[in-house]
């Protein structure tokens, strides 16, 4: 949930405020995830003084899990380092992706280039076994707080303590990202972004470096997406290319459009609503299977995508601005002005 919020916020920053249609969100997210998985599995062996081994084998998977369950220092260190590196890598790729973004001729070409780049990423990572273990992906990335079970602290060593702690960590990061985007978009930088989005020519005649601003917003957005990828891998425990497809990017777009274009609170609401729908279809499929034997459960699974696309079509046609309107900029000056207005 928190992960989706981060992703939606980052897309909102890029498209809603910056006007850059990022159809390659899965690329940045997946890159963050794979960076994390590769680094973690190698770093764990280094920190725990194991001989380095092939990270794809089952034995190494078991070893990784045992280290994560017993060695808190190595686990946490690997967690933090892989997080920092994946955010950095995400920022770098975002910068690289902004290169074509500034040079393509027609509006939707950028969308095309990013979509294709995401697809290339998926293909390379799923066919080249030396990079990310191919189709199977890298498994055995334990929760960074899994070692709590082996401690003797009474409440914390129960089996649901560490998932809830990690959920808290994700929520904390989501909150940080929300604050960051809210701050950014309320700042002069946010106004500049909107100016570039609405009329880049006018902005550039006013002496603003449009290309630099577009590059900056791509860097921030993709770093956030990579951050989400990092959190996701530690949550789900495996980095697999099947999770980072264009339909995934599409879901994030639905969340953003649903919540409201250029509105950070809207982005959060969109992410929440869509995750709820996904969960409901999951519950629905289990219920239907329980009550109607012989019913094909994949139909319900497909209906999730049907609902998603139908929702987006209806939104685009009838309510293109989403649930919440584009928010006003909340600056200190604005609050003072508003308070003053009420006093009079």
């Amino acid at each position: 949930m928190g992960i989706y919020i981060i992703l939606t916020l980052s897309l909102n920053l890029e498209y809603g405020y910056g006007g850059q249609p990022n159809f390659g969100q899965a690329l940045f997210y997946g890159m963050g995830a794979f960076m994390t998985a590769i680094l973690t599995s190698n770093l764990l062996f280094v920190f725990a003084h194991y001989p380095s081994a092939n990270i794809c084998t089952i034995t190494s998977l078991v070893q990784r899990e045992s280290i994560a369950a017993s060695n808190p220092v190595a686990t946490l260190l690997a967690w933090v380092i892989s997080g920092l590196v994946s955010v950095l890598v995400g920022a770098l790729i975002g910068f690289a992706a902004s290169y074509p973004a500034l040079r393509v001729r027609e509006e939707w070409y950028l969308a095309m280039v990013l979509l294709v780049a995401a697809q290339i990423f998926t293909i390379i990572f799923s066919y080249d076994a030396s990079l990310g273990c191919g189709f199977d992906g890298i498994a055995g990335i334990s929760n960074p707080f899994a070692w709590l079970t082996s401690t003797s602290i009474p409440i914390l060593n129960s089996s649901y303590a560490f998932p809830s702690i990690y959920a808290g960590v994700i929520a904390l990061f989501a909150y940080l990202c929300y604050t960051l985007t809210e701050r950014l978009t309320s700042s002069p930088f946010g106004r500049l972004l909107k100016a570039v989005r609405d009329d880049w020519l006018a902005a550039s005649t006013l002496g603003k470096n449009v290309n630099a601003i577009r590059a900056q917003v791509m860097v921030i957005g993709s770093a956030m997406a990579s951050l989400a990828g990092w959190l996701y891998v530690y949550y789900i425990g495996v980095a697999n290319t099947a999770d980072y497809t264009s339909s995934f990017t599409f879901s994030i777009w639905v969340m953003m459009i649903l919540g409201g274009y250029a509105n950070n609170r809207g982005a959060i609401i969109g992410a929440l609503v869509l995750t709820l729908i996904n969960e409901l279809t999951l519950v629905g499929s289990t219920l239907i299977q329980a009550y109607i034997p012989g019913f094909n459960p994949s139909v319900v699974n497909y209906s999730k995508y049907l609902l998603e696309s139908l929702l987006l079509l209806i939104l685009l046609i009838y309510r293109p601005k989403g649930l919440l309107k584009e928010s006003r900029i909340r600056t200190p000056a604005y609050t003072v002005f508003k308070d003053g207005g009420e006093e009079q």
Binding site: Y15, P21, F23, P100, R103, V104, R105, E106, E107, W108, Y109, A111, M112, V113, L115, V116, A117, Q119, I120, I123, I124, Y127, S247, F250, W253, V254, I257, N296, S298, V299, Y302, S303, Y305, L306, E308, S309, L310, L312, L313, L316, I317, P320
Partner: protein, 309 residues
């Protein structure tokens, strides 16, 4: 060099298929300037129509092709009327249109998924037998191969004749080069656009039907080819028919003969074939975003005329 003749024949066949499936998108892009990501779904519908019809009338290629043209054309019209017309009338931005076509594509695709899993045809083969007719250099030329070539060539020729000599074709060109002027001179834009959708969807459907005997028909059939279609069209400069023909030839040869060459002499595995269209898109968009085709643009002709005099 024993692999070469077979590989070249395969390339020609795939070029024909690529031409059939991407010429409709060229049409859409040139008349209403819409990058339609739902175009690939017309193929899926065409392939499924061929699957259904071939259960009733096996091996009747003419009926199958006509039926898939019809089915995909109806779908295209429906998509236009429900999704694109309201959005275009409201003058939505290109991104919104792209997103809407993405959503429409996903909707169609998963409808087919649901229908397919209810009908038990999630992956099936149509009842069209592929029989060899002639042998050239030890390679079999099958009936589908010939049909593909004939349909692709004849539809290209018919299309160009249609644009040159019929009134509706001329109107379509007028709308393509300047919509406002065309409207001012009394062309009913709505009818022209509908005709365009029928052609674009129908040709895509025929492409899908021709493809169906060779592959396993799945609901994701079209979607998997989507970026290849875009690669062909982008290579041809989006609006040019000549460009699309060249683009499909390049794609056909790059994915077969060139890939065989790389595989045999450099050991590049075939799984990387998919990377070819993607790299083509990125290279063309970055190096020469206007593509490599000549388009029907009246503006350009006028400018050239003025420059010469």
């Amino acid at each position: 060099m024993g692999w070469l003749p077979g590989s070249i024949l395969r390339s020609i066949f795939e070029s024909g298929i690529f031409l059939m499936i991407s010429i409709g998108l060229t049409l859409t892009l040139s008349v209403i300037k819409l990058p339609n990501f739902a175009h690939a779904e017309f193929l899926t519908i065409g392939a499924y129509t061929s699957l259904v019809i071939s259960q009733v009338l096996p091996n009747n290629l003419v009926v199958i092709i006509l039926a898939s043209f019809l089915a995909a054309a109806i779908l295209a019209l429906a998509v236009h009327n429900t999704v694109f017309k309201p959005l275009i009338n409201r003058k939505s931005s290109a991104y919104i249109l792209v997103l809407a076509s993405f959503a429409a594509a996903q909707f169609i695709r998963y409808s087919v998924f649901v229908a397919g899993s209810l009908g038990g045809v999630l992956s099936a083969h149509p009842r069209i037998t592929v029989t060899p007719i002639v042998y050239i250099a030890g390679q079999a030329i099958t009936n589908i191969y010939l049909a593909t070539l004939i349909v692709a060539l004849s539809s290209t020729i018919l299309l160009s004749l249609f644009f040159k000599y019929t009134l509706i074709g001329k109107c379509m060109r007028a709308v393509s080069s300047n919509t406002t002027l065309a409207q001012l001179s009394g062309i009913k834009i709505e009818n022209i656009v509908s005709a365009m959708w029928i052609l674009a969807g129908g040709l895509g459907g025929v492409g899908g039907a021709l493809l169906s005997p060779y592959v396993t028909v799945t609901p994701a059939l079209g979607f998997n080819l989507l970026l290849e279609i875009f690669a062909v069209v982008i290579f041809g400069g989006l609006t040019s028919f000549v460009g699309t023909i060249i683009g499909s030839l390049i794609m056909g040869f790059a994915e077969n003969t060139f890939m065989d060459f790389l595989n045999i002499y450099f050991g590049v595995p075939y799984t990387y074939t998919q990377l070819i269209p993607f790299s083509l898109i990125i290279i063309v968009l970055l190096v020469k975003p206007t593509g490599f085709g000549v388009s029907y643009s009246a503006n350009k002709a006028l400018r050239r005329f003025l420059k010469e005099n």
